[in-house]
């Protein structure tokens, strides 16, 4: 106990604490700022800035303290290794519930940060100029991050680089003091206080200068930052922009995008929007290597609520296999594993683990997992930078899927022999299940629960009319399928697909009635009708079935293998049927819409090859309308359908730039950057344009240009250059200044040169400033020894600057050998007096006083006499000489002995 107390009150510990406060904490702060900035710039790192900083700081503090108590490089690294080893052991020993994925990605990041912190701490403790290494590293990281920013402005650079510069200066000022003992009583540590106050003064000066130079810019930047912060706070921030209206459909609009409804009313309208909802890469392939699509599941609706007459979600489900996690709440790279799904999964035949990456657009509901069924693991992943405009977030899931399951089921009878063979194989396989006797009775009861009532009885009767109770489950399913596929005498299908479910589209009619009507009267409906009807029929036949909502996989990317994209219109409902040992299988009874073949949708999957333009204009901006997002451009040269043309006259066309990307020097910018007179390249893509004029043989290009849509819809605008003369540039620059935005390279160069110039001027004037300082000190010195000191210091400096420099000799030798012969002044005499005052035990006398005053008056005239006034003055501009005055003399070679 006593020892502990001694330890904490010991001088060494106090010194350590002081150094921790003076060195380590500023380093941690700058580390935090840098980390925050890097996190801001690179989403891939975004895993919680506080945790990152904590690991970093712990690394620094530990390493610094250990070094202080004697753990040098080797020992320190051994300790670090042991520490790491222990953590690794602890993690690998944790019970199975602990998620390995969860540990790995974050663990690596944090341990890297910890080790970096450790190294920083060691460097700080060991090397005197470590601050410069750290400063350099941090500066490089910051600059790289800054240079990656799209809308670069001077204020932005200043705001992010300033802390690093302040840190560098702070360390520059402090590092010489740190090698010495720091007095804890601050009254005694004069040197330290002087340095700190000098530093504070310098920063204050810099602040004042910055404030004066860029006050406008800073205000603008502040606003910008504030706006950014506000945007970050309320999530996606794009709530009110989309007026996508699908209130009655499968989707419901929420604050965070569109979601599939928890309760599925049969009368829900099918959504027909072609908004891109999400995109996915599904690592699921057929044995021949072609992609095997799977339906993407949101929710299972398992319980029929007779009061609401709709299917609802239920939590108390036996062997519930829906992963309940909110992906929007998982920070980057965090993951979640529902081990209960792994445990409960009884399907072990043909089971495999399928990986899927899902990229969500801003329209998608982000608070539920969307994945192929029986997902058990989810990890958030970053979105590639190029696609951040389209996709806001992404995650990766792992699901238990069956090799027998794929989206090419049941209904969409395929033309491909390979798929037919697979379906046949599956049928053979599933035929092995004869009944559900081995299935847990609770489970079976739950999933075959069937409501009673007149309508339900008739549905049940219908079901028994198409299949028997003794039939094998898969045959029952196929019987239901065949029921929907039945054709009448004329060879026409009885059941049809329609988004308008016949004439009975009346919300007042109860849903069960609608199902009844669908089955027995209208035979017209969309997915929920088919899914609902087949659900009831299969349950009536004693097959465990559930209603599934999600997305049908239709659009397969031809360019990117394994990629699919999903529109809002692909929101879907279907049934899943349980087969013991095989698990849940998707069965989609919805028949295809024969009447209307929807046009193939554009491929929306990343990474996209560059889109093909139909029109490229080399144009000049005439006017820009920022509110309408339109500009008027005149052009003479163009590339139309891959053929370059030069027109015989200049055409002028309005250009719609509302959706386009504006680029300047390959960096994104805004439409506001385009000024009238700029030369532009305007690109319009084939995929995006609605009406593309086709090239005609024998028609002049001019006529074809006349036929271009007006306005031309631009997808990309490249600003090539500011065409007008310097005058316009100047006005543009002034405008920039007024708005405090978009600062050009010129401005940066201007500020840089001013800073450099003033620094140089200060350096040039430095000798004179120091002279002035010496004179002031002398003027304010009291009579006596202080005055003698000041006279001595001033004289030394003036002699030095007059061209006679002291080298290794002592001042007395300097006086006797150099000054007196050159200037014929009695400096040696003064020196002797001065040394006597300094070193002898005797006191100050009046005689000394007169001697001192006499000498003080002699110095100036003596120098003037030798050098003349002009040369004396000019000598004070010799900066190198002034600097030498402050340098310790180089050691003299002593040859006398050898």
């Amino acid at each position: 106990m006593e020892e502990m107390k001694d330890f904490f009150t010991s001088d060494k510990f106090k010194q350590l604490l002081i150094r921790q406060v003076l060195v380590v904490i500023p380093t941690i702060v700058i580390g935090y700022i840098t980390l925050r900035f890097v996190n801001f710039s690179y989403t891939a790192l975004n895993t919680g800035i506080v945790n990152q900083s904590i690991y970093f700081s712990v690394g620094i503090i530990l390493a610094y303290a250990l070094y202080y108590y004697g753990a040098r490089w080797v020992i320190s690294l051994i300790i670090l290794w042991l520490f790491y080893w222990f953590v690794e052991r602890i993690i690998s020993r944790l019970p199975g519930e602990f998620d390995v994925f969860y540990a790995s990605a974050r663990f690596q990041l944090y341990s890297t940060l910890f080790v970096i912190g450790w190294l920083f701490g060691l460097l700080l403790a060991k090397i005197r100029w470590a601050h410069f290494i750290l400063f350099g590293l941090i500066a490089v990281v910051t600059l790289v991050s800054v240079s990656d920013t799209i809308d670069l402005s001077l204020s932005y650079i200043l705001i992010h680089v300033a802390p690093v510069v302040v840190y560098g200066l702070y360390m520059l000022f402090l590092s010489p003091v740190l090698t010495e003992r720091i007095e804890i009583d601050f009254k005694k540590s004069k040197k330290f206080l002087i340095r700190v106050s000098l530093f504070a003064l310098l920063i204050l000066l810099a602040l004042i200068i910055t404030e004066n130079l860029f006050s406008g810019n800073l205000k603008a930047a502040e606003k910008e930052l504030a706006a950014r912060g506000a945007k970050g706070k309320d999530g996606s921030g794009n709530n009110n922009k989309n007026n996508y209206d699908d209130r009655n459909g499968l989707m419901e609009k929420t604050d965070d995008g569109y979601r599939l409804k928890d309760t599925m009313r049969v009368n829900s309208k099918m959504s027909s929007s072609d908004k891109l909802m999400f995109c996915s890469k599904l690592e699921n392939y057929f044995p021949d290597g072609s992609p095997a699509p799977l339906y993407f599941v949101y929710h299972y609706l398992t319980r029929y609520d007779p009061v609401k007459e709709s299917f609802t979600r239920d939590v108390n489900i036996p062997s519930f296999d829906e992963m309940e996690v909110d992906p929007a709440r998982l920070p980057m790279y965090y993951s979640f594993t529902d081990t209960s799904i792994i445990r409960k999964s009884q399907a072990d035949k043909f089971r495999k683990i399928t990986e899927a990456s899902i990229y969500l657009s801003e329209n998608t509901w982000k608070h539920a997992v969307l994945s192929p069924s029986s997902a058990f693991h989810i990890q958030t992943i970053p979105v590639e930078k190029d696609f951040q405009k389209t996709f806001l977030s992404a995650y990766k899931t792992f699901s238990f899927t069956s090799e027998l399951n794929n989206a090419y089921f049941v209904y969409n009878i395929s033309a491909s022999p390979m798929l037919e063979k697979i379906q046949e194989q599956r049928y053979e396989e599933l035929r092995k299940i004869k009944n559900y006797k081995k299935v847990d009775s609770e489970f079976l009861t739950y999933y075959t629960e069937y409501p009673s009532g007149k309508i339900y009885d008739s549905i049940s009767k219908l079901a028994f009319s198409i299949s028997s109770k003794e039939a094998r489950p898969v045959d029952k399913v196929l019987a239901v399928r065949d029921f929907f596929l039945k054709r009448n005498e004329n060879g026409k299908r009885i059941f049809r697909y329609s988004l308008r479910a016949g004439s009975i589209d009346d919300p007042n009619i109860p849903s069960s009635k609608m199902l009844y009507d669908f089955l027995f009267k209208t035979h017209t409906g969309y997915c929920t009708y088919y899914a609902g009807a087949s659900l009831f029929m299969l349950r009536a036949l004693g097959v465990p079935t559930r209603f599934t909502t999600g997305f049908a996989t239709i659009n397969r990317s031809d360019k990117n293998k394994g990629w699919y994209w999903f529109y809002a219109s692909q929101a879907h409902a279907w049934t899943q049927v349980y087969f013991p040992e095989y698990g849940w299988m998707d069965f989609d009874m919805t028949i295809g819409n024969e009447d209307q073949q929807s046009a193939p949708k554009p491929d929306g999957t990343p990474p996209l090859p560059p889109p093909e333009p139909w029109l490229v204009l080399s144009a000049k901006a005439e006017s820009v309308d920022l509110t309408k997002k339109q500009l008027v451009a005149s052009f003479k040269n163009l590339i139309f359908q891959n053929t370059p043309y030069s027109l015989n006259k200049t055409f002028t066309r309005p250009v719609d730039a509302s959706l386009c990307r504006v680029l300047y020097n390959k960096r994104d910018t805004t439409l506001a950057a385009i000024k009238p007179g700029d030369s532009l390249i305007i690109v319009s893509y084939k995929d995006e344009a609605k009406t593309i004029p086709q090239p005609h043989q024998g028609v002049t290009i001019e006529t074809q240009v006349e036929g271009f849509p007006s306005p031309v819809i631009a997808d990309e605008i490249h600003i090539r250059g500011k065409e007008n003369g310097t005058k316009k540039n100047d006005t543009a620059k002034k405008k920039n200044k007024e708005t405090g935005k978009n600062i050009t390279l010129k401005d940066i160069a201007w500020v840089g040169s001013i800073t450099l110039g003033s620094a140089l001027l200060l350096l040039l004037l430095f000798p004179l400033i120091y002279l002035l300082y010496r004179f002031t000190r002398l003027a304010f010195a009291k009579q006596g020894t202080t005055k003698a000191d000041q006279v001595y210091q001033l004289a030394l400096y003036r002699f030095h600057m007059s061209g006679i420099e002291r080298e290794t000799e002592t001042p007395l030798e300097y006086a006797g050998k150099k000054i007196d012969p050159a200037l014929s002044i009695h400096f040696a005499g003064f020196m002797q007096m001065y040394l006597r005052l300094k070193y002898s035990s005797k006191n100050w006398s009046d005689e000394d006083q007169t001697h001192l005053n006499r000498f003080a008056k002699e110095v100036g005239p003596a120098i003037h006499k030798k050098n003349g006034f002009l040369k004396t003055l000019l000598n004070y501009f010799n900066v190198a000489r002034a600097i030498r005055y402050f340098q310790p003399p180089a050691a003299e070679l002593n040859d006398t002995l050898n």
Partner: protein, 326 residues
């Protein structure tokens, strides 16, 4: 009073030893600090003459030694490899008249001793000499003879590179307060010496006896009273410790070396007619007093390392303002 006497002493020696005022002062300072001095140089540079002149400049006081010339006693021993310790300290011989062994004193019983080419003698002889220098006494058989408080050795040695030498170990070098190198004189001085070689050769006759034995003892006491500023002592501590920490120095300066340094500084200040030590003294004396006590790792270091440390400290002192006196 004492400063004038010293001035006359140095001036007196300088009439014979031309162009070497600094070296003369070193020797006098070593004398006043009650130390011994080692001159290292080639033969014929004037070492012997210096020692002789110094002895002759000091007049006869109450001495029980035989004095050749009215001054304090001066003896010279030329060291050779076959020299034995008893050749220095003396030996017992049988006295017929007394019918007893009596001690015949050797050349060590003197005031000023010139030990010529000390590194040519065997280590045994060297250590016998060094014992007297350190203890100021001689032991022969069962008797111990106290030497005079004023016992001053000027040893000379050839450069170590020369053949047939037994280099003095560092521990023994430590006993010499200073080790200086004489060096050759400049052209003008040499011309002057040749012009006046006759009078120099007959130096015996021209050297005046300016100081008495008592004066020297008095001056030695005076030297101890010289004021040395606390900041200077701090500087010396830094220098001494600096030599121990320096990477190029294998063996740094001992505490005895530091004490010697302070003694020499005081004596040097007195020789320069001051009653206080200044920073210049530190710089001037550092090499002769400290250099031979250290072992350097290489030749380059032996040329530069010490002065690096000293220059740094002296520079600090020079920058220091006048401290308030208590």
């Amino acid at each position: 009073m004492s400063t004038e006497k010293l001035k006359t002493l140095t001036d007196n020696i300088e009439t014979i030893i031309r162009g070497k005022p600094q070296e003369v002062k070193y020797v006098v300072a070593a004398l006043l600090a009650r130390g011994h001095i080692l001159l290292e140089d080639n033969p014929g540079a004037g070492k012997t003459v210096l020692a002789k002149t110094l002895a002759q400049s000091i007049s006869e006081g109450t001495i029980d030694f035989h004095s050749a010339n009215g001054g304090v006693a001066f003896k010279r021993i030329q060291f050779t490899p076959d020299l034995l310790p008893m050749d220095l300290i003396g030996t017992h011989i049988y006295d017929e008249a007394k019918k007893d062994f009596v001690f015949k004193k050797g050349p060590l019983f003197t005031h000023v001793l010139l030990a010529d080419e000390i590194n040519r003698a065997s280590p045994k002889v060297q250590s016998a000499l060094l014992e007297c220098m350190a203890e100021n006494q001689i032991s022969a058989g069962d008797t111990t003879f106290q030497l005079d408080p004023f016992f001053f050795t000027i040893a000379t040695q050839n450069p170590i590179e020369m053949e047939g030498t037994y280099p003095l170990p560092a521990a023994q070098l430590d006993r010499f307060f200073m080790k200086i190198s004489f060096g050759y004189v400049s052209e003008e001085v040499e011309t002057d010496i040749y012009n006046n070689y006759l009078s120099i050769n007959n130096g015996k006759n021209t050297v005046k006896q300016v100081l008495s034995y008592r004066d020297i003892i008095h001056l030695q006491q005076e030297a101890e009273k010289v004021y040395i500023h606390p900041e200077l002592i701090k500087g010396i501590v830094h220098i001494v410790q600096g030599t121990r920490k320096h990477q190029e120095i294998a063996l740094g300066c001992s505490t005895r070396g530091g004490i010697t340094f302070i003694k020499c500084l005081k004596a040097w200040a007195l020789v320069n007619q001051r009653d206080y030590v200044i920073e210049d003294d530190v710089r001037t004396l550092a090499h002769p007093v400290l250099h031979h006590r250290m072992i350097f790792r290489n030749r380059e270091a032996s040329r530069t390392a010490l002065m690096q440390i000293v220059d740094q400290e002296v520079n600090k002192l020079a920058k220091m303002g006048i401290q308030a006196k208590k």
